[in-house]
C-alpha cells in the first residue's frame, strides 16, 4: 500500500521508476490478496456466525438505542432512509412517517426482519379495525384518529455493505448501527463509510444534504464488565454462547482471563443497565483462529465474532478519510457514534 503512494516522476532514473512500478503492481496485487483474505476472514468470523445465531441474536435485540431513536424520530415526514446492517429490523418501523429500506448481509436476519415487519403491520391493521369499530376512525377513508399512517417495516433485502444496491445520492439518511466494527481492515471500514455516504443526497444551495448515522463499539468501556479500555487490544474475537432453549441460563464460572459480561446490540449496555433485554452471556477473549471452539465449561456452542473496537477519535478519522464531513459525534454506553454528511457541510439551518 505504501509503495503506491510514491511519485515516480520525482525519481532519478527510468530504471528506478520501473522498479517502483513493479513494486506498485506487487503492492496492488498484495492489496487484492489482502482484501480477499479479509473477506474470507469476515465470512468465517462475522457472516457465518450471524447466520448460525440469527434467531437467538434477534431475540435479544428489540430495544432501540436512544441516540438512534432520537435521530430517526427527528427525520421529516416522507424522508427516505436506509438501514445498512438492519439485523432483525428493529429500527425500520420506529418512525412511521419515514420510508425505510433495510439491508443486511445475513439472509436469516433479513427473513426475521421481514416477518417482524409483517407482524407490526398486522397489529396495526387490527388496531385500526378496533378503532373503526369504536367509531373513532372514519371507515370510508381509513384515516383519522391519532394514526400518522402505516408502519413500513417490511422493505428489506440481502446485500453486502461493500456492494450496496441503492440508487446513489437518493436517500435522505442512512443509519448503520453496530456494523462497521465487523470489517477486519481499516481500508474496508473506511470503504464501508464511503458507500454509506454515496447513498445520501448531496447538499445544494439552501438545502442540506442527507446524513448518515454510524454506531460502533468503543474500546473505552471503563464502565462495562468486559474489561476493555483505552490502550487495550482493538481487534478481538468476541464469543457468543448459543444457549439451548431448555436450559435455564446459569452463571458461568469465572475463569482466569475471562470476565463475565453481557452483550447488547454489540453496542453493549452494561449488565447493570435495566433495559429489559435478555442478553446472552458473553466473555472477552483474545484472538483465536476458530469461529467455534469447544468450551470445557459449556456444552452450548460458542461462536466467535470479529470486532474492531474503535478508540476515541478513530470513527471521525475514518469519516474524513471516506470523504465525509462530521456534523456531530459522541459516546453512548460503550459506543462511539457519528452523524456525518458529504462535503460540503449542509447549512446548519435547524
Amino acid at each position: 500500500m505504501m509503495a503506491s503512494t510514491h511519485n515516480p516522476s520525482a525519481l532519478p532514473s527510468d530504471s528506478v521508476a520501473g522498479d517502483v512500478a513493479k513494486l506498485a503492481a506487487a503492492a496492488a496485487a498484495s492489496q487484492a490478496a489482502e482484501s480477499a483474505e479479509a473477506e474470507a476472514y469476515e465470512k468465517t468470523h462475522v457472516h457465518g456466525v450471524y447466520e448460525a445465531i440469527a434467531p437467538h441474536f434477534s431475540a435479544t435485540r428489540y430495544k432501540p438505542w436512544p441516540a438512534v431513536a432520537s435521530f430517526l424520530q427527528s427525520r421529516p415526514p416522507g424522508a427516505v432512509g436506509l438501514d445498512v446492517g438492519c439485523g432483525n429490523g428493529k429500527y425500520l418501523g420506529l418512525n412511521p412517517s419515514v420510508y425505510m429500506v433495510g439491508s443486511d448481509r445475513s439472509a436469516s436476519l433479513v427473513a426475521l426482519a421481514h416477518s417482524r415487519g409483517r407482524q407490526l403491520q398486522e397489529q396495526q391493521a387490527q388496531e385500526a379495525k378496533k378503532r373503526i369499530a369504536q367509531g373513532e376512525l372514519d371507515a370510508t377513508t381509513g384515516t383519522g384518529g391519532e394514526s400518522s399512517g402505516a408502519v413500513v417495516a417490511t422493505e428489506v433485502l440481502v446485500a453486502d455493505g461493500l456492494s450496496l444496491p441503492f440508487r446513489e445520492r437518493a436517500a435522505d439518511f442512512v443509519i448503520c448501527i453496530a456494523v462497521i466494527h465487523h470489517m477486519s481492515t481499516r481500508t474496508r471500514r473506511q470503504e464501508a463509510i464511503r458507500h454509506l455516504l454515496r447513498c445520501v443526497r448531496t447538499g445544494q444551495a439552501g438545502q442540506p444534504g442527507g446524513q448518515i448515522l454510524v454506531y460502533v463499539w468503543a474500546l473505552e468501556q471503563g464502565n462495562s464488565r468486559r474489561g476493555w479500555d483505552e490502550g487495550g487490544e482493538q481487534d478481538l474475537l468476541v464469543p457468543w454462547v448459543l444457549k439451548s432453549q431448555q436450559k435455564q441460563p446459569k452463571r458461568p464460572k469465572q475463569r482466569k482471563g475471562q470476565t463475565r459480561t453481557r452483550d447488547q446490540d454489540s453496542s453493549g449496555v452494561a449488565a447493570s443497565n435495566n433495559s429489559g433485554e435478555a442478553p446472552p452471556s458473553e466473555a472477552t477473549a483474545g484472538a483465536t483462529t476458530a469461529a467455534t471452539e469447544p468450551d470445557p465449561g459449556h456444552t452450548d456452542p460458542v461462536f466467535k465474532r470479529y470486532y474492531h473496537l474503535y478508540r476515541k477519535g478513530e470513527l471521525e478519522e475514518d469519516v474524513l478519510a471516506a470523504g465525509g464531513a462530521v456534523i456531530t459525534s459522541g459516546y453512548e454506553r460503550d459506543n462511539w457514534w457519528v452523524v456525518a454528511a458529504n462535503e460540503p457541510l449542509p447549512s446548519q439551518s435547524t
Binding site: 424522508a79 412517517s97 409483517r118 399512517g149 413500513v152 433485502l157 446513489e168
Partner: protein, 169 residues
C-alpha cells in the same frame, strides 16, 4: 390547464385499473390467486425506485437503473393512506424510472412528468391512486435484471438478494 386535467385523467384511469386485484390475475396468469393473500411476503413497488445494480462498474451507467423485473409475481394489499408521507415522497421519486417500471410490469403508461405537490395535496383521488401504485402494489417473486451486466437478482418471498457471485464483486 388542459394538460393538467389530461394528466390527472390518465393517472385516474390507470389507477382505477390497478386498484383491483383482478387486474393482476388477468395480466399475470402464472400468478395464482393464493398470492393475493395479504399475509404473503412482499416488497413495495416504491422500493424498486431506490434499487440499482450492486456491481460497482454498472453504477456509472444510467442503464443500471431501474432494474428490470422478470417473471414478476405481483400482489396488491390494503395500506392505510399517509398523505403527508406521500406528498413528501413525491420529489424523492425518480419519476422516469417509475414510469419504466410500471410499464414493464404491464400497467398502462404513466404521464411523462409527475403531478405537482399542489395537485397531490388538493386532489384526494389522485393521492389515493398514487398511494395505491407505490404502497399497495407489491413484488413477491421473480427477478430483477441489470440493464448493463445482465445479472439477475432473485426475489423470493418479497426479499431480493443482492449478494454477488465472486466474479462480479
Amino acid at each position: 390547464m388542459v394538460l393538467l386535467v389530461l394528466i390527472h385523467f390518465m393517472i385516474s384511469v390507470y389507477m382505477h385499473h390497478i386498484q383491483k386485484p383482478v387486474f393482476f390475475a388477468e395480466h399475470y396468469p402464472f400468478s395464482p390467486p393464493g398470492h393475493l393473500e395479504k399475509k404473503t411476503a412482499k416488497m413495495k413497488l416504491l422500493t424498486l425506485n431506490f434499487l440499482t445494480c450492486a456491481v460497482k462498474t454498472c453504477k456509472s451507467s444510467s442503464d443500471s437503473f431501474p432494474l428490470h423485473p422478470k417473471d414478476a409475481e405481483l400482489a396488491s394489499d390494503d395500506v392505510e393512506v399517509n398523505p403527508e408521507l406521500l406528498v413528501n415522497l413525491l420529489p424523492r421519486l425518480d419519476w422516469k424510472a417509475l414510469k419504466t417500471t410500471s410499464a414493464e410490469l404491464g400497467f398502462p403508461q404513466l404521464p411523462d412528468s409527475p403531478p405537482t405537490i399542489e395537485q397531490l395535496q388538493s386532489d384526494d383521488k389522485l393521492l389515493k391512486d398514487l398511494h395505491s401504485l407505490l404502497m399497495e402494489t407489491n413484488l413477491m417473486e421473480g427477478k430483477l435484471v441489470c440493464g448493463v451486466c445482465g445479472h439477475e437478482y432473485a426475489v423470493r418471498e418479497g426479499i431480493p438478494n443482492f449478494l454477488l457471485p465472486s466474479h462480479l464483486v
